[in-house]
Amino acid sequence: MTDQSQTLSAPTADQPVKHQESAQYVTFLVGEKTFGIVIVMVREIKQWSPTTSLPNQKPYMRGVLNLRGTIVPVHDLRARFGGPLTSATENHVVVIAAIKDQTIGILVDAVSDIVTVLADDIRPVPSTGGNVGDNCISGLVSNGDELVALLDLESMFLKEELTDELVVN
């Protein structure tokens, strides 16, 4: 704890060093992959519990859960990136994030760490040509020997325009 309290204390007044832009990310695991969400968007982290499924949605939409009276949709990150549905157990984790005025849940395998990322260390995503993840990853950053894909939650989850057809009776 002591070492952390040092890194976290505010710069003292006589040392007004202009820090490089940095942000903290919560990182978590899906299989072998590591993803990161900027910490200010993370509201809380919950153990998986069964959701109420919604009819006729994309497979990665795992249904909704009750978060203290609010209905929150839960997205399966593994399936979102083209993998199979996660067979969720009590050991799985739902990251509750706030995107603008929306609250969403993201089903992942486990939360791993909190890392501080300097803006200069973020590398752009090499284009892989039409991959699902293309505009969902805002950048890559290495943390030790693992590569963390930073999620762009806004482009991933923000309210899609209503496209459902309305049929006239």
Binding site: G69, T70, I71, D101, I104, D164
Partner: protein, 704 residues
């Protein structure tokens, strides 16, 4: 402090919306010739209040314009100017300009406005008919902003005045032991305008001083610009260790203070001991209709100063919090009742009765809370005359808008959502429905078209109708377009009514050329979708040559719903009780299989299409039971039988939105939280049936 300024500004703009709506209404009355001195006074005060608020924030254009506007009205008040229809037109236009100036102020847009200059010139003529020739618009503007804006009257009139507030603060015995520091409290309060502190109670002599037993209380005297809400929130920090009373707040009488500071919470109106009728003409006294309830009984708390309000102005967020809380209580109560019924006969009879009583009281509580949020549809209706006037000008049509049932009350959640669809429908009626004056006269009608906008309660719904006396729907054109667009086949043999309903179809627009009015692809489909999102239905009736009538049926509230809980597989769903006709055991009725393997059910000689919820919602898990049918009534498809596995019970549920965090889901109107904390979806039965309509159409065909 900046943040506070922004808060106040937001309040100012909210206030402006109300004032503008009042102004509009009063001016409309004056224009119609039914106004009196009091109407004029009320209109004047609305403009004056806007000016006052604008001065507090330094919106110069708005100040100077409002000032000119006000001076012209003042002339009318002193009978120096006659309120002819032409004069009223200028006033109405001035109201429109003021609205756009407020909008610009909100967006920090300081670009000059041509319309403003034009209307300013018109006002200048009214103010001084002789000046007409020699005053080009530009000069008028200059004169106004140079000489009148910084006018001292504006200053002293409109700078937020300090209010005296006294707070009686009673620390709990353990106050000092809970991490609170009296000195810190006093120094923090000073930043809020604390200017005098009186200690009451017995100050213990030092030798006996006991931190665990705080025996004193304080009277804290503030001279502050802050409203009671801010003061209240300051003291909330001491909630765990003290109680307090905000004792007096002699609001300064100027309206601007309210504009700048008050609307957040409980506003104590400086109403002298006068009957409500006298107080009412005050433009502000009418405004609370938007946020609060009808005036209640005179407050019994007569220990307070005279002039305590009969109505409260409450921030909507506070009411919402209350509604949510009551919602939670309903859920908890349901859970309790469920636990009790599971416990079986071992439960003490008295406990059971108490729980029943509580259930009733909870429901009453909920109804009372919902009543607070109810407001007359007038608040949206009153915006419509302007929409019509603007458009009538653009289209070169003469239109009279007749409103009725404006006092019909609807939950505020519904009201907010109504403006947009209503505007669309009015535009549609004016653009497509009403003919131009010549065409009308040729058809033997009066040159002025009439649109009626009406609201009324019918059961648990509010019905809003928009009817015009125009040409009605041109079925030939509609059908041709629909066939062109591939919406229907040529041999579909639609009934006239079915053709009419096509205009609600997505992407359908009957305007031959896309007009600037209702074209642009925003059509009646958007209206229909919006209404459906609100849990409502809409339809139309058209009589060629005579006119067209749109009807919207909406739930009175979007917050609670009487529902039937059912089970399909492992899932629980809620059916709105308003749809349910009856529940049948399948062993008591006959099921017939159709050639396409769909089913129909015979009930009292009637064939009903059957819809399996499991199939429609693709529910998995649990073996198929489906031995129960719920007969539901729909406006579009008549009676339909829904197959389910189990009927769990009937209860009031609190509607939660899926759209807040996700988006609309077909066949589902929302969700609720059950007693056990699980989420259950509320089914949108008409939508669900429509989704499966192909099947039911085939059934219908097979039956005929």
């Amino acid at each position: 402090m900046d943040d506070d300024d922004e808060d106040f500004e937001a309040l100012f703009f909210t206030e402006c919306e109300e004032l503008l709506s009042d102004l509009q209404e009063h001016l409309d009355v004056l224009y119609s010739g039914n106004g009196d001195q009091e109407t004029l006074n009320a209109a004047f005060r609305a403009v004056h209040s806007v000016k006052g608020g604008a001065a507090a924030f330094g919106f110069d254009d708005l100040i100077s314009f409002a000032h000119k506007f006000e001076s012209v009205m003042d002339l009318a008040r002193s009978d120096e100017l006659e309120l002819t229809p032409d004069v009223c037109q200028v006033l109405l236009r001035s109201g429109d300009v003021m609205e756009s100036l407020i909008e610009k102020a909100r967006e920090r847009d300081t670009s000059p406005s041509e319309t403003m200059n034009k209307v300013l010139a018109e006002l200048a003529v009214l103010a001084d008919p002789n000046a007409a020739d020699e005053s080009p618009a530009e000069e008028v503007v200059e004169e106004v902003s140079a000489t009148e804006a910084p006018e001292p009257e504006v200053e002293e009139d409109d700078v937020p005045a300090l209010r005296s507030v006294e707070v009686h603060f009673q620390p709990d015995a353990g106050f000092f032991r809970s991490g609170h520091d009296a000195l810190k409290l006093i120094s923090s309060a000073k930043a809020m305008g604390l200017c005098k502190t009186v200690v009451e109670g017995e100050i213990q002599p030092l030798p006996d001083f006991n931190l665990d037993d705080c025996t004193v209380s304080w009277r804290l005297h503030f001279e502050t610009e802050l409203d009671n809400a801010k003061i209240e929130s300051f003291f909330l920090a001491y909630e765990a260790a003290a109680t307090w009373d905000i004792l007096s707040s002699d609001d300064a009488e100027e309206e601007p203070v309210e504009v700048a500071a008050a609307p957040a919470v409980v506003e104590e109106k400086p109403a002298p001991a006068a009957p409500p009728e006298v107080a009412k003409p005050d433009a502000k006294a009418e405004a609370p209709a938007k946020s609060a309830s009808k005036p209640s009984e005179p407050a019994a708390a007569s220990s307070k100063k005279p002039g305590i309000s009969k109505s409260l102005r409450v921030e909507l967020a506070r009411v919402d919090r209350l509604v949510n809380l009551v919602g939670e209580i309903v859920i908890t109560q349901a859970a309790l009742a469920q636990k009790l019924s599971e416990a079986g006969p071992s439960v003490d009879l008295e406990v059971e009765h108490s729980v029943e009583a509580m259930s009733r009281q909870t429901r009453d509580l909920q109804e009372s809370v919902m009543a607070i949020r109810a407001q007359p549809v007038k608040s949206v209706f009153s915006r419509m005359p302007r929409v019509v006037r603007d458009l009538a000008d653009k289209l070169g049509k003469d239109v009279r808008l007749e409103l009725s049932g404006e006092q019909t009350e609807v939950d505020t959640t519904v009201i907010e959502e109504l403006a947009e669809p209503l505007t669309h429908m009015l535009r549609n009626s004016m653009d497509h429905g009403l003919e131009g004056p010549e065409e009308r006269i040729e058809a033997g009608k009066s040159g002025t078209g009439i649109i009626k906008l009406a609201a009324e309660h019918r059961g648990e719904r509010v019905i809003i109708t928009i009817s015009d006396d125009g040409r009605g729907i041109n079925r030939e054109v509609v059908l041709r377009k629909a066939i062109e667009k591939g919406l229907v086949a040529e041999d579909d043999n639609l009934t006239p009514d079915e053709i009419d309903q096509l205009i609600f179809h997505a992407g359908f627009s009957t305007a031959e050329s896309v007009s600037s009015v209702s074209g642009r692809g925003v059509g009646m489909d958007v209206v229909k979708r919006k209404i459906q999102e609100l849990g409502g239905r809409c339809w139309l009736k058209s009589e060629p040559g005579l006119g067209c009538k749109f009807t919207i049926a909406l739930p009175l509230t979007l917050a609670v719903l009487e529902g039937m809980t059912i089970a399909v597989g492992d899932e629980r769903y809620i059916l709105p009780l308003s749809n349910v006709v009856e529940a049948l055991r399948l062993d008591s009725v006959e099921l017939h299989e159709m050639p396409d393997s769909s089913k129909v059910l015979t009930r009292r000689g009637e064939y009903l299409p059957v819809l399996s919820i499991r199939h429609a919602l693709k529910v998995t898990g649990d073996p198929l039971k489906e031995d129960l049918a719920i007969i539901v009534d729909t406006e579009s498809d008549g009676h339909v039988a829904l197959l389910i596995d189990e009927l769990i019970g009937q209860r009031q549920v609190v509607l939660k939105s899926l759209e807040a965090n996700y988006h609309r889901v077909d066949g589902v109107s929302g969700a609720t939280i059950l007693g056990d904390g699980r989420v259950a979806l509320i089914l949108d039965i008409p939508n669900l049936i429509t989704l499966n309509n192909t099947t039911s159409n085939q059934i219908a065909e097979a039956l005929h």
